[in-house]
Symmetry: C2
DNA sequence: CGTTCTACGTAAATCGTTTTAGGTCGCCTT
DNA sequence: AAGGCGACCTAAAACGATTTACGTAGAACG
C-alpha cells in the first residue's frame, strides 16, 4: 500500500539513491552518468511505478520544478465569475509544460483574509492571486510584505502588481453613450459590494456627468448583487412612480433582474427605457431583448494574472508590469442605435 | 527571509524541539508538559512568528491534521457549474474546524484524466472528487484501485462512492408532465456531451414514453451545450417547418437559447410552445417568461461529496453510503398549469 | 613509473516535523 | 536506604528527495 520511493528505484537498478535522483532529474550538470546506468534507472523507475513525492521535494526545496499557486476570493463572489476566473487560469496553466503548476482555491470572509505570507512560508502554496478583494481587505493588503508573491486581480494598487480593467473609463463611456441619447436622468444600479472595480465604475459615471456641459441628472441606487436585487430595485422605483428611462447596471446579473422587472411593469426596452449591463456574461446574448453590456475579458485577465504570479515566483527580482485592460461596450438590443 | 522553524521556537523557549512540537500539537497523550513550559513555548512561537511547514508535516505523515482534496473536471465543463460546485464545497469545508482542509482544482481533457492514484501517492493531495466525468473516462475509472480515495460527483457507479441525482426519474417526470398537457410530440434538446447525467435524463424520458399507454411521439435533437446551441437548434427546427409545441431542454443554458429563438420566431411561450429546462440556475427565475426547470441542488451535492471524501480519507475502512438526490420540477411560466 | 586527467558514482548532509523510547530528578514507601 | 513511581522533558530516528563534495578506476601523458 505504501508507494515506491526513489530508494526502491535505486535498489532495483542496483545503483545509489544519488545516482537514481540524478538520472530522474535529467541533471545535465556537473555530474555525469553513463548511458547504460541511465537506462537501467529509467527502466527500474518504470517498473516499480515510481512517483516522486511532492512533500519531500518541497521540503528539500526544489524551487521551480513544481509551483503551487492559489486563488483567493471573498465568500460572496458570484459563481459565474469564479468559473470564468478559474477557467482562464486553467487554460493558461495547461499551456505551460515546465514547471508543473498546481492550483489551489480558497475563500474567505471579507476582511478576514488568511495570512498569505504565512501560507507561503508554510509552503502550502508559492504565491496567490487575490481576486475581487473588497475594501475591508485594504488594510490587510497594505500590511503585506511586497516580497510575498501576490498578484491583485480586478483591482489596482501602487504597491502590488495587478491585472485589472479600465472600470473608470467604462463608466465614463456608459454615461457618455446614454447622455448622447438625450435622457433627462440616468439611473445607476450599483451592486452593494465594496469592490474597487464597482466603485471605479461609479466614479467614472459621476466624473463624466460632472464634467459634461449639459449632463442629465443621475441617481445612484444600491442593490444586492444578483438578479433579485436588480428586479426589486426596479420594481420599487416604478411603484414609487419614478419610471427610469435609462438604466446603467453595474453588473449583468442586476441588469437581467432589471430587464425582467421592466417587462413585468409593461415597459418596453429600449423604447421606454434603455438598459446597459456590465461583464458580458454568456447569457446576455440571449436575454429578450439581448442585453447591451460592457465586455469584461475575465478569462484573459485571469490568465495574465496567473502568468504574472508565476513570473514573480520564478524570478522574484524581476520587475512586473501591471495591466489595465481597456473596456468597450457591446451594443445589442437594450440600447438604441446612434 | 527564511521563515522560523520549530527549532527557532525551541531555542527561544529554551526547550528541546520535541517539547516544542509536543506543546504546539496540543497532544494530551502520553507525554506531559508543565504549564510553565507550555506557556513559554506558546509565547516563543508567537514571538518568532512560527508557522508550521506543511511540506515537512506531510512528509512526516500527519494523516489527519491537514487534508488536501482535489476537484477534477473536464475542460469543457460550464463555468456556472464549476462555480456552484466549488461554492458548495467551500461552504462545507469552512464549517469544519478540524482537520484543516485545503482544496485543489484541476481540469483535464475528457479521457485524459491524470493518474489520481499517483497524485495521492505523491501526496499532491489526499483524495479527489471526480466531477462531471464523461464516458471517455469510464475506462480510467474502472481501472482505478477502489482503495484510492475518490468520490464521483453527478455519476453513479458500482465500484465507487458517489453523489448524484435521480436524473432518470427527473426525465420521466418531465415527460409525464408534458404528456399530461396533451402534446402530440415532445422535442428533446440534448446537450451533446457524453455525461452519464444527461444520458440518464434521456433514458428517463424515453422510458416513460415507451411505457405510457397513449404517449406522444418524441424526437431527440443533439446540440452544443450552451445558449447558442439551443438557439440554433430551435431556429433550424422552425425554419424547416417543424414547430415544436413542447421543448424538453436538458440544460438551462440550452433552454435559454431556445426561449430566445422562440421569441425571435414570434412563438409565444407557453401558449404555442411549452419549455422546460434543467438545473435551476440562478438566471432561470428572470428569463421572460421565467423558466420552469428541474431543480438540481448542486451546492448540496458538492458539499456531500466533499464530506464523503473526507470520511474516506480519514476513516478508510469505513463503508460509505452513496447518495442519489430525488429531483423535482420547479413550475414557473414556461409551462402551463395543471 | 609517477602524475594528472576524465568519466562515473556514491556517502552523507539537509529540509522541518512528529513520535517513540527512554532519561532524570525528586518524593514517597516500606 | 533501596526501590518504585510520577512528572517532566529530550535524543534520535524517521519521512523522501536533492545536492555537494568526495572517492575510485582506468587512461593519458611526460
Amino acid at each position: 500500500m505504501t508507494s515506491p520511493t526513489i530508494r526502491d528505484v535505486a535498489k532495483a537498478a542496483n545503483v545509489s539513491v544519488a545516482t537514481a535522483s540524478l538520472v530522474l532529474n535529467q541533471k545535465a550538470g556537473s555530474v555525469q552518468i553513463s548511458v547504460r546506468t541511465r537506462e537501467r534507472v529509467l527502466q527500474a523507475a518504470q517498473e516499480v511505478g515510481y512517483v516522486p513525492n511532492m512533500a519531500a521535494r518541497r521540503l528539500r526545496g526544489n524551487a521551480g520544478r513544481t509551483v503551487t499557486i492559489a486563488v483567493l476570493w471573498p465568500v460572496d463572489t458570484r459563481v459565474g465569475l469564479i468559473g470564468r476566473i478559474l477557467t482562464g487560469i486553467q487554460e493558461h496553466i495547461r499551456t505551460i509544460s515546465e514547471p508543473r503548476v498546481e492550483l489551489m482555491v480558497e475563500t474567505y470572509e471579507s476582511g478576514r483574509l488568511r495570512d498569505v505570507r504565512g501560507l507561503v512560508e508554510a509552503s502550502t502554496f508559492n504565491g496567490a492571486i487575490l481576486a475581487n478583494t473588497t475594501r475591508e481587505d485594504d488594510a490587510y493588503i497594505h500590511s503585506l510584505d511586497p516580497a510575498v508573491p501576490v498578484v491583485l486581480f480586478h483591482r489596482h494598487s501602487q504597491k502590488y502588481p495587478y491585472v485589472t480593467a479600465d472600470n473608470f473609463g467604462a463608466g465614463c463611456e456608459m454615461a457618455r453613450q446614454l447622455t448622447a441619447h438625450g435622457h433627462e436622468q440616468l439611473t445607476v444600479l450599483v451592486p452593494d459590494v465594496s469592490s474597487q472595480a464597482i466603485q471605479d465604475r461609479v466614479h467614472g459615471i459621476v466624473h463624466f456627468l460632472h464634467s459634461a456641459p449639459d449632463a442629465p441628472r443621475h441617481s445612484l441606487i444600491y442593490c444586492p448583487f444578483h438578479e433579485v436585487g436588480g428586479y426589486e430595485a426596479v420594481m420599487q422605483l416604478v411603484q414609487s412612480g419614478l419610471r427610469p428611462t435609462a438604466l446603467l447596471c453595474l453588473s449583468d446579473q442586476v441588469a437581467m433582474g432589471a430587464l425582467c422587472a421592466l417587462n413585468t411593469c409593461g415597459m418596453k426596452v429600449p423604447e421606454h427605457c434603455e438598459v446597459i449591463g456590465f461583464d458580458n456574461q454568456e447569457f446576455t446574448q440571449f436575454t429578450v431583448p439581448s442585453l447591451s453590456t460592457v465586455d469584461l475579458p475575465v478569462e484573459t485577465m485571469a490568465a495574465q494574472a496567473a502568468d504574472m504570479l508565476l513570473q514573480k515566483i520564478l524570478h522574484p527580482s524581476q520587475e512586473l508590469m501591471s495591466i489595465e485592460h481597456p473596456l468597450r461596450i457591446v451594443h445589442r438590443d437594450t440600447t438604441r442605435q446612434g
